[in-house]
């Protein structure tokens, strides 16, 4: 099978590309900056997802697409997010139609259905639109809706929303927690007792490959969105402290009340882009995400995608600790 993977610069999609290549699939990695390829089955295609022409060209001869290219974070204008995340997805859908590609896995995010309330044992609810300030979530939501609407008798589309992915090499969650803990700036929103789902990186990778294998026009998962996680929710406190333990840094966060965190978060996410260029320390979304429970019914994903997480949290933390030790020895 020949698979187009976009956004392969990220830890998750680089892993997906690598796994596909290793099992014998032919992989086209579409990304802005071409890097050295890590496997003979991988071909690099330099291009901009916003450029319809290059997307169409990259998809020539492909059997399937895993679309993960996206603009992330909170920096940037709505136009920036829209052109990459929404237009980019439209380009992918057009390319799929043009080349009669029948399988598409859209890499989404739990924030597309996030309304700030606790989620306890629910299944993935439909993406919602109409947010004013969260450009990333809004653009991803619009794109997910478009992608799932494109599900048809010719094209099977499935959307995966991996929940809090972490693991060795992860700069988003693990990297930021460890860096802050080292600087003594780690903040805990609310009690830290909210139960949240998380996903060990290898499980997130295997879920996308399982989705690729399951998706086809009319298949059980076609036209649907799934939240992906380890299915082992833990308190935010436990997750953070075990990440710190693995990195051998002290875990002593400063607690700030959830309400205050949310308010600070909303102010910061509006002001920060005007004065700074880096990512802000907290956003409203992060404050809500860490202050309220978020765990999901994993049965639909596991049944429909014929997938089970292979690496338990315990095993994941052992691997994370090994990785940190190996980093130090360099």
């Amino acid at each position: 099978m020949k698979v187009l993977v976009t956004g392969a610069g990220s830890l998750l999609l680089a892993g997906v590309a690598q796994q596909l290549a290793e099992r014998g699939d032919e992989v086209i990695c579409f990304q802005r900056r071409v890097v050295e390829k890590s496997h003979p089955n991988i071909a690099m295609f330099a291009g901009d997802i916003r450029d319809r022409g290059s997307v169409t060209e990259a998809a020539i001869g492909c059997d399937a697409i895993i679309h993960g290219a996206a603009r992330v974070g909170v920096m940037g204008s709505w136009e920036d997010f829209y052109s990459t995340n929404v237009d980019g997805t439209i380009n992918i859908l057009r390319a799929a139609t043009e080349h009669q590609i029948s399988r598409l896995v859209y890499v989404s995010t739990p924030s597309v259905a996030h309304v700030g309330q606790a989620i306890e044992g629910d299944i993935a609810s439909p993406a919602t639109i109409g947010r004013k300030h969260a450009h990333y979530a809004e653009s991803k939501a619009q794109a997910e809706i478009l992608a799932l609407l494109a599900n048809s008798e010719q094209l099977g589309v499935v959307a995966l929303r991996p929940h809090l992915v972490w693991g060795p090499g992860d700069t988003q969650l693990v990297g930021r927690i460890v860096e802050r803990a080292r600087q003594g700036r780690l903040v805990m929103v609310g009690s830290g007792n909210a139960l949240v789902d998380s996903t060990y990186i290898d499980n997130a990778v295997s879920a996308h490959i399982a989705a690729l294998d399951s998706i086809a026009p009319g298949s059980r998962c076609s036209g649907k969105a799934y939240v992906i996680s380890n299915g082992e929710p833990r308190t935010v406190n436990e997750l953070m402290s075990r990440i710190c333990l693995a990195a051998e840094v002290e875990f002593s966060p400063k607690h700030i009340p959830a309400v205050i965190a949310r308010n600070i978060g909303s102010v910061i996410e509006r002001i920060w882009p005007l004065i700074r260029k880096d990512e802000p320390p907290i956003t409203r979304f992060v404050a809500e995400q860490l202050g309220t429970a978020h765990w999901f019914d994993q049965r639909p994903a596991q049944e429909d995608l014929n997938w089970k997480p292979q690496v338990s949290l315990d095993e994941g933390f052992v691997r994370l600790a090994d990785w940190f030790r190996s980093q130090e020895s360099f």
Partner: protein, 826 residues
Amino acid sequence: MSAPSAQLLGEIGLDPSWSHIIDVPSHDGQIHRWHYLDRPGLDNDAPTVLCLHGNPTWSYLWSRLLNELNEKFRVIAPDHLSMGFSEQIGPRRYRDRVADINDFVNALGVSGPIWLVAQDWGGAIAMGYAVAHSERVAGLVLSNTGIAVPSGRKAPRLIQISASGGLHRTITRNTSLFVRGTAYLPGAGLSRQQRQGLVAPYVNRNQRDGIAGFVADVPFNEKHESFGDIAEVAAQLPNLKVPVRLWWGAKDPVFNDDFADDLMKRFTDVQIQRVANSGHLAVLETSIAAFVERTISQARSVEPEEIGAEGSSETLWSRIMNPSRKDTLAIHDGADQSSVTFAELDSRVATFAQALVQRGVEAGQRVAVLVPPSIDLIALVYACWRIGAVTVIADRGLGINGLGRAVKSSRVQHVVGIRSAVVAARTLRWAPRASLIELKSLQNSMQLEGLNQLGRPEPTHEDLAAILFTSGATGPAKGVRYTHGQLGAQRDILQQVYNISDTDSFVAAFAPFALFGPALGITTGLADMDVTSPATLTAKALDDACRATRATMVFASPAALANVLKTASTNLSSLKLVRLVMSAGAPVPIDTLRQMKQLCPDAEMHTPYGMTEVLPVADLSLQQREAVGEGLGVCVGQPVDGCHVKIVAIEGGTTNLPTGECGEVVVSARWMSLGYNRLWLTQQNARFESDGLTWHRTGDVGHLDSDGNLWIEGRVVHMIHGSHGSITPVPLEVVCEKIAGVKRAAAVGIGEKGVQQLVIVLETDQAKEDIAPPHFATQVRESLPDLDVVAIWETKKLPVDIRHNSKIDRTALAQKMQKVLSGRSR
């Protein structure tokens, strides 16, 4: 008035496709426009359910029933004229409202039998319709309603105020007080959405016109135009032969228990389910769907008559009168060192019995006995039994509120008690219309020598003798009815299982058990202790009581024994003579029994297993327990002779599961209680017939092992239903309690059934309320390697029942953990 918008209906939880408008030709010659909700049914042969709301509500009152009732039934709920979203046509008399329903039913072309479900004044209209069209009505389900003000009672004050002169319009029309007040009446409470739904059609004054008219039509005296019409309907109710079931919110300040009693007297086939924690809007606060469905399905089959176990025919008091035991010590009270012989007890029982009769206590009436454990308490209970009165025995172990709720729910005609209890019963309005009899007044009456001087007929063994109360560890305490024969059979099985003979005597540190002493014909000792707190029994008090009675047997709760051990000294000579120690009510730690064995070296340690509804079910000696060893859950021993035990599938199974498989424990025995009191649905759910026996569902889950031992793994309601299957809490707790520093453990599930996550809560010595430190978390997870424990919490004290201080309220704990782990609170 225009129809409600789809948006509004959606917001308040109604399917917009249920909302309809119809023009109905009326008996008054005009055409009126009705709004109604109509949920189609899947089974055309099923009867139609017609729901009539009261005042000041509208068809929204039935939103839960519409959403929750089995899909096979068609459910129709109209807004009465001038109410809700139906046409405003001004005030309307009762007689017209009854005829309106007929107009409406005909216009809709409803065919087949109709079940009426009605609340508040909708109930009166439903009764009127049922009387006028009995051929169409298959039955009634009524909730917090009435047809007449019960005798001896004034009209409901709240409505009286609302209907009276000047205030009437202010309350009902000019302000939204009446509408909003109703939505906030005491009870389980409504959600914000439900309150929004209730007030939706009544936002402005003109819309409230109908409410004002409705209230004005409540007849409070004979001069009122509608009085005669309603009285006529009331008079005809006994002719209605259809089943009537009452769903009664007990906290309703308007249509309270008096109205329920009044209705119970008017129908031939009537049953009640009293909903302890709910109020006037019980049909919205609680789920009535299962009740309605059960009512309809039972009415279509022939309801079996209530047949309890026959029990024993030897009276409970016969052994008190045994001439050969005349001078033997009958009861010794360690609190005041008083004693009576059997002859003296006989005399006191007879004297009380006669005095009770003189005070108007009749056979069949319910009597609350509010006397602390003492010779007088025991004498009084036997006196009630002898004259056929039904004793309501609610011990202080339920707590003062629990005691009050128990007395209230029993609808006693008499309260007999010490002064403070009688005052409490009066001021707390536990039994506002009961006669209050002070114990002292009975003591001062003319003395009889013995029961053979009492010229009163004896009750039969089929007559009701007592209402006992469950500990309320899982919801409000439930009243359990026992006949004389069933209590007698309970005495007989205790005698048989524990080899009790004339030469025995016993000390009871658990009041309800002490009552069995005279029935067994043996000397009974009451230890000096605070009965509300079993943990106040000291070793010395127990030893003293044993000395005074030369006790061969001791009965005490696990908490009481624990304190005996804590206060034990070397000088406990009388305990050494005991041959049997029994402890029950809650799981007894094995160490407690081992240590008791040191105090009573010659005694066998026994732990009977059972429940208020059936006791005993099984029995286990310490010796057997040591031999059985460990397993899944807690071993409670083998079923006692004559008690049948089956393990059936949870939620309704009736046939035995294979040995070793876990399911609900169901039992059948001669000494099983008759059933619950004023809890028809609860009773229907708890009892079933199979193999020619009546079975009781215990609500416990467990299994039988290959040796026939019964193992208890928890309560059905405490099972944890995760995505990988269901698990029982006790086996997990047993394992976690082995971790050093853990006093007790509880396993609970959070989230919805089917996706629940497992949380372990540890009770430790130095605990603060928080996530447990990592060393505990690690040990818990290592102890339960096959399960995913999402969080481990540490607490100072697990929530337990008041009576035994040991049954863990896992439901409350699960709610708390759900809240904590949602991030909403610390």
